[in-house]
Subunit: 144 residues, 2 copies
Amino acid sequence: MGRTTLDTAALAHELRLAVMRFSRRLRNQRVDTSVTLTHLAALSTLKQHGPMSPGELAGHERVQPPSMTRVVVALETAGLVTRTPHPTDGRQVVIELTPAAEEMLTAEAQAREAWLAGRLHELTVEERAVLREAAEIMGKLAGG
Amino acid sequence: MGRTTLDTAALAHELRLAVMRFSRRLRNQRVDTSVTLTHLAALSTLKQHGPMSPGELAGHERVQPPSMTRVVVALETAGLVTRTPHPTDGRQVVIELTPAAEEMLTAEAQAREAWLAGRLHELTVEERAVLREAAEIMGKLAGG
DNA sequence: TATTGTTATACTCTATAACTATA
DNA sequence: TATAGTTATAGAGTATAACAATA
């Protein structure tokens, strides 16, 4: 086992611990309890990629379809997404953001991430640059 | 709102999404289902900082004391930690790793993080360096 | 009275398995 | 048969509130 392998194992260890604590911290910082972070993540994906099926959404969020079904039901109940039949494939449905959701995402963007943004603001420019790159790399790791 | 503030808000958004997906992915990659990642995190903290009370452990892990109680009970049942009375303060108990836990942590260190280490190995040296720095920064953000 | 830890209870998030409807 | 989605069920992880023991 070479030096790179040792380094990688150590990094895996540290990164796992840091990400777990950080994600817990993030999850507990929600202020608007009416919309959870999981719901927000789904809404953000719809905002970013446009209308899609529950299956596609589950793929994007890296959860199983039944998990996404529950999220979509909750969002529909809250009036934040609509479920309409797919135009050509009767098995599929299309999930789309409502104007209310668009408005909410826009209006509360800053407020929702206030804690994290505040903490990030305390960092140096260099540290933020590191996190910006790291976010991209983690996205790649999670997505592949 | 200046440019830095805008950048920070955008970074908060991207970082939150990336960390959530990444942590989900990590949580689902456990192979040895007998010990969950949450339990492992607690064991790693004990390994790193030595014996401590449930309250201290909860503080380290950034969870509430009742949550840690459940983790400790599970770990004690599994024979991975011991709960002994504090020598001078009768209210407190001291949580300590058993030899079995030490052995497990050492022996399975690589195997447990196999997925992540494998993925990290595919990255460039520069990307790993970014994640190494990011882990430290996220630890700081989670801990403060 | 204040602190430490536990118990009781409930909610969120996620999974797997089984089912329905459509292709 | 295969695919998309949902329902049923279960389990992990966490929280708040209430309680017991000790300082």
